[in-house]
Each structure stands twice: as C-alpha cells, then as structure tokens.
Amino acid sequence: MADLVPGAVRVDRLRRRMITVQIIGAGVILLLAMAPYVFEPSVTSQWIKLFYLITLATSWNLLAGFAGMVSVGQQAYIGLGAYGVFVFNDLGLDPYTSALVASVVIGAVAFGLSFIAFRLRGGYFAIGTWVIAEAVRQIVIRFDSLGAGRGRGIEDYTADPVLRNLFTYWLALGILVATLIGSLFLLRSRMGVALQSIRDNEVAARAVGVDVTRAKRIVFVLAAVMAALAGSVICLQQIGVQSPSQIFSVSFSAFMVFMVLIGGIGTLEGPIIGAVVYYVMDLYFSQMGLWYLVVLGCLAIVVTLFLPRGLWGELRARFDITLFPVGHRVVALPRPAEPDASASAPAPRTSPRTDATATTASTEG
C-alpha cells in the first residue's frame, strides 16, 4: 500500500460497504416483515421479545458505550413508555399510535430530567438515574387512574388476538429498524465522530472543540425515547402492566448491561449479538428462577474483567470484520505516474518514511 503523504490522502467513509449494508439490510427487514405470514403467532410473539431486547441494548450502548454515561435508571423510561400507552389510549388514540405519541412526550421529559441528572458524573450519575427512576415510579403509582400500585390493562385494544400480535410485531420491528438505522446514521454523522471521540477520551474531545454536554444530552434523550418505545411494546404484548414494580424494575438495567457487555460495548454490532445471547439464555435457563439472575450477574463481572471488548470485539480483533461501517479510513491516493508531479503537491516536512503513522489510519466504531 502507498505511503500516507499529506495532500495525497483521502478519507474513506466506507461508502461501498454502506451501500451493501443498505441493500442487505433492506432485504432482511422485508423478510422479517413478511415473517408473520409464514410463522405461527406463537413464534413471532417470541421474536417481539428479541426485537425489544435489541432496541434496549442498542439504546444503553449509545449511552454507556459512546457517551460514557452508565445509567442504571433506564427503567424510568421503559415504565413511562408502558404507562404512556394507557394515558393516550384513554384520551382516545389507538394503542399503537399512543405508543408513538408517548415516546415523543417522554423524550421531552427526558430532556428536562437531563438537567438534573447531568449535575452528577460517573458513578454518581449512575445512582442519580436510579433515584430518578424510583421517584418516577413513586409518582406514577400515586395516580389511581393508572391502577395505582396494582398495574392495569389496556382498555381499548384490538380484539382479534392474531391481528393484535401482528400489529405489535410490526410495531416492534419498526422500532427496532428505526433504532438501528438511526444509530447507524447518527454514528456516521458529524455528531457520531464527536460521540466516538467522547468514548475514546472525553477530555481530549472537549479540548478539540466537541460540545460534549450537548452531544451527551442528545444521546440521553434518544436513549430515553428508545427505552420508552421498548416499554410500550412490552405493555402492548402483555396487554397491560402486571405491576409497576415489575415494569420499573432495576433488573431491566441489569439485562441491558449484560447484553451490551457480552456483545461488546462501544460497537453497533455488539448489542445485537448480546441481545441474541441473552434471548437464547433466557429461553433455556429462565426456569432456574432467580439463580438465573445470579448467573447473569457473575457473567457480567467475568466479561467486564476478562473480556472487556465482548464477543464482537474479540471477533473483530481477530478477523477485522464490521457489519455496520461507522468508521473513517485514511487512504493514500494512487501515486501520479510522473515522478516530478509530486513537486506541485505541498512538500511534506518530514520524509514519508520517517512519518510514524501507519499506511492506513482508521477509526472504527
């Protein structure tokens, strides 16, 4: 490969890979959207769970993996998303529209709450979000119309169970697709560069002019909207909320942490893999009762300490593969044929040989 000479490089955004991803992605989405015509509702209702798990994992990964905010209070938005379905359903909207409207409102709530949460940093931010989640739960259960501490069902719902499952499936799939596409384009945008620089070194990012607080606030709100949408899917699938302490449970945060850590924090692919691993484990081991959560906790600790890059990180380190191109690659332009043509290019201060940079420098998300 040619040497990297200043003036003779271009930044490759992996556009060709991006086009491939778009074509394959569109195909996969189309197939998944048709799946209810092929599979029984009992199968697709299982997939709904996988879809909202991936959505949750992706949202937590944006928070912790890219913006460096470990939140253990995302259950606040999951719960609000579920209860938002009731609120707008009672106002006369159908449950599916309610879910979408609620998520927008909850995004606004999260924007307000960010001004409280951002007073704290690091570990105290984590517990602060937990307190906010508790306060939100305690406020929600004070409303008798929302079932107080008992939970409640959706009043006005599609009567036919097959159609209900179908609509919920499409909604969950749509939310998942929107989450993944949104994250991919967010990370490829200018904001994405800022986020990846915050992930790598927050102080340095601030020093080169990244508005760190603004970037974090945007991610905080986006993650809350995604969690709210996932929460409303949970509510729609269970036709209500069984108990507020369940939908506002800190266990949701534990699942998110687990999925992201296992898959690989700070990558787009990791949370998807982590969610699939969690989903499969959940299918086979959930009859172990609460020991299952004990095992998850232990695995999370082991992965944090001994496999900090997660499954996807290890795979990528070994085989240099990416599914979603979010990185930049500096590539040397082909050398001009005439030897004296380089005189017109700005003269490099150091000879290319002594320049210590590798022939391709790249950032990978």
């Binding site: 570990g123 307190v131 266990s251 232990c298 944090t304």
Partner: protein, 290 residues
Amino acid sequence: MVIVNALLQGVLLGGLFAMAALGLSIAFGILRVVNLAHGEIMTIGAYLAAVGLSSLGVSVWVSLLAVVPLMGVVGYWVQRLLLQRALTLGELAPLLVTFGIAIIIPNALIELFTTNKQAISTGDLAVRSIKLADGLYVGVLPLLTMAVAIALIAGTQLLLARTRIGRHMRAAADDSETLRLLGVDHRKVYAAAMGLAFAIAALAGVFFGMRQGGVTPFDGQLMVLFAFEAVIIGGLGSLWGTLAGGIVLGVAQTLAGVVSPELPLLVGNLVFLAVLVLRPTGIVRSKVVV
C-alpha cells in the same frame, strides 16, 4: 408538638442514613469507586446477624463482633481480587462490577432465605424510649444509632488525619503512583480502605435491620439510594457533610410521614433532586477532601 416530634425523629433517623453513607463516602473518596453494591453489603451484614440470632442464638451485639471484622476482610479481598483489576480497565469497569454484585446478592438471598423478613430482635431496646415532654419521646435505639454514627465519623476523620494507614489512604487518593515510589503498595492501601467501607456498611446494615425489626432481600436497593442521597445532599468529599445530608433526608422523610404514610420515600427523593438542582455541591462546603 407533632411537628417537633417528627423533626426530632428525623434528625435521629439521619444518624442511620449518615452511617450508611459513610462507607460509600470512604470508597469514593479514596478509591474513586462508586459502590453500587453498597446497600447489598449492608444487607449481607444484617443477614449474618439475623442468621446468627436464629440458628446460633447469638445476640445481635455479640454477632456484631464477628460480622463487622468478617465483612472488613471480605471487602479487602473483593477489592484485591475484583475491583483492583477493574480499576485498571477504565472508569466504567468498577461500576459495572459493583452493579453485577448488586444484582447477584439480592437474588441469591431470595433463593436462599425466601422474601420473608428475617427477624433481628433486640429485646425491648427497639421499643424503649425516653420521655422529654408530653408527646415528645426519644427512642433509645435511634439515639444509640446517632451516637455510633457520630463516633464512626469522628473515628474515620481521626484515622485519616492522624494514623499512618490514614496518611497512606489520603496519599493513595491523591497520587497512587508517587505512593508506590515511596515503597508503599497502593493496592493494599486501597484494599484496606475498601475493607473499612465494607465493615462500616455491615454495621450500618445491622442497625438498619434492628430499626426495622428484621431484614429482607429488597432492603439493599432502598439503602444504597438513601446512603447516596445523604452523600450528595451533604456534599461530596465531606464526612461531616454526610451527617448533615442524612439529617436533611431523615427530617424530610419523617415530616412527609406526618402528612401521609405513603409519602416519605417520594418526598425524600424529591428533596434530593431539588438539592441537586439548586445546590449541586451539597449543603456543607467541604474543606478536607477525603
């Protein structure tokens, strides 16, 4: 008189919150680790005392003599074996490890002991009280809790200011590299600090259990939030601040309890969030950074 009584009870409740917050404050001040499992360590302390009482018949006070040092040793080794490694991996890792512990402990406790309350009885101590005026009583146990909390804070302050290990801890908090150059193993210093934090947490957990008459697997979640709120309200880095923060939280909860028995937790949380918005550095200006 109801209000005065609630104020007094709130202040004494603050002693308990301060005791719970002290361990969190030490761990953060010296190791910069926010221990999300702090409440669960308190729960473990209370469970050990409860099991000692129910299966061995040992009184709570005697079991404290074993439980507190035992949890200190546990803290020492948790730091050396798990958290020390996590500290080298960046900011997120220690948080995630302690969150893992915070998920493991309550679920294991539910499987082992069910969700039933494990009784921690203190004889008549829990109900004994001193009459100050008509309608104004001071419980002996809350008074004792407050005294122990003050003694612990003063003791920790002395330990950090006057003793050799205390100096090492402060040095490790400032610059562990230089401490190493001077021939002190900073990992042992960190581990000792975490051991101290665990021991105090266990003691606070037993006092919490005595106040509640027992302990359930869910108490840890409540307690870690109380402890954290006391630390933040009081102001990060100030040990006496945690006492002030605990008292503010305690008074807020008992005053809310006068209005409605469902309100204390919510009002406590809202007071905390209000302090965070209005005075994020806490109510006590810290002079000594632990």
